[in-house]
């Protein structure tokens, strides 16, 4: 319990003030994350409105099944994250570790699928900055790609890449929390780090919830 008492920082009067301060700080940070991705969503909206056909055509080259599976995987990881926070709030340190390991697992599956998808794009020659020709001309028909096709893939890699970076940052934090959980560092009075990381992880999930329809589904009905 002494480790618990030392987790109250000197400048707070009690745990309640500490928790409320940190929660508000975390939410302020998440607001900046919204605006950070917001710049990308604004760019997306501008070019999608200008080149809607090119975007639909390019989107048709994504693998909707993999994207859909990944969406479910990420929702699973959100659930396990929520369960980890729940376990922490009940003081179940073993539960924290269990659910966090599951979260890490789902997160890793997501990233693994992402690697497979990126590899597909590489094989099809659709990576901006590397495959200029593939983005300008269709391999088979040798017809020029419509304007905006390039920008779609630039946006696809910028958005999913930045999203993946957020997950890659999150996983080691989750691992640290799991170890700390096993060491009994948290209790029902103090589990703020688990809760804050949970907020971050759910936020990353929300970004994907928007990326999936905006990137994968806009060409779905055109292709069928």
């Amino acid at each position: 319990m002494s480790s618990l008492a030392s987790s109250l920082q000197h400048h707070f009067t009690d745990f309640k003030q500490q928790k409320e301060s940190v929660v508000l700080g975390m939410w302020s940070f998440l607001i900046q994350e919204v605006m950070f991705f917001g710049g990308l969503f604004a760019t997306y909206t501008v070019f999608r409105s200008q080149y809607s056909h090119a975007f639909a055509e390019a989107s048709g080259l994504l693998n909707v099944n993999l994207g859909g599976v990944n969406t479910i995987v990420l929702i699973c990881s959100s659930l396990t994250m929520a369960m980890a926070v729940h376990a922490a709030s009940k003081g179940k340190n073993g539960g924290i570790a269990f659910w966090l390991v599951l979260t890490i697992l789902f997160g890793s599956i997501f990233l693994g699928v992402k690697v497979v998808e990126y590899k597909e794009k590489w094989d099809h020659g659709l990576i901006p900055g590397i495959h200029d020709e593939g983005l300008r001309f269709d391999h088979e028909t040798h017809q020029p790609r419509p304007t905006g096709f390039w920008l779609y893939f630039a946006l696809y890699f910028a958005m999913t890449g930045l999203h993946a970076i957020h997950m890659i940052i999150g996983i080691p934090i989750l691992a640290t929390l799991a170890i700390n959980g096993l060491r009994g560092k948290y209790g029902p009075e103090y589990y703020t780090p688990v809760e804050m990381t949970g907020l971050y992880w759910h936020f990353v999930d929300i970004v994907w919830i928007f990326l999936f329809p905006l990137l994968y589904l806009i060409g779905a009905h055109g292709a069928h």
């Binding site: 409320e20 929660v23 508000l24 939410w27 302020s28 998440l30 607001i31 919204v34 605006m35 917001g38 710049g39 969503f41 604004a42 909206t45 501008v46 409105s49 200008q50 809607s52 909707v64 859909g68 969406t71 479910i72 929702i75 699973c76 959100s78 659930l79 994250m81 929520a82 369960m83 729940h86 709030s89 949970g198 907020l199 759910h202 936020f203 999930d205 929300i206 919830i209 928007f210 999936f212 329809p213 905006l214 589904l217 806009i218 779905a220 009905h221 055109g222 069928h224």
Partner: protein, 116 residues
Amino acid sequence: MDATTHHEEHHGPTVKMYFAIFAALSVLTVATVLAAKFDFAPMLGVGLGAFVNNAVALGIACTKASLVILFFMHVKYESKLVGLAVVASVIWLAFLVLITMTDYLTRTSDWHLFVR
């Protein structure tokens, strides 16, 4: 202290609820894929059809995001201030996207064509 704990247990999130939210999110994911594969254009015309397709996709995404924010992220149980923070971020994002779009949707290069 006892009173607060009791209060939280009474109104706080439960395991059952977490799994219910998870189920809802999964169902909505399937729904958005199916809705996207359905083309509204033949039914409603090209312009309106595309609009409906987009509106359905974004509507489902917003619903899913709201579920995550309210329940997984506990905003439903936090102070009003946190709710305000969420709303503010949405408003500011709207400032950025919508005002920028007013430019791209109304650009007109050559005014003299409009002088009568």
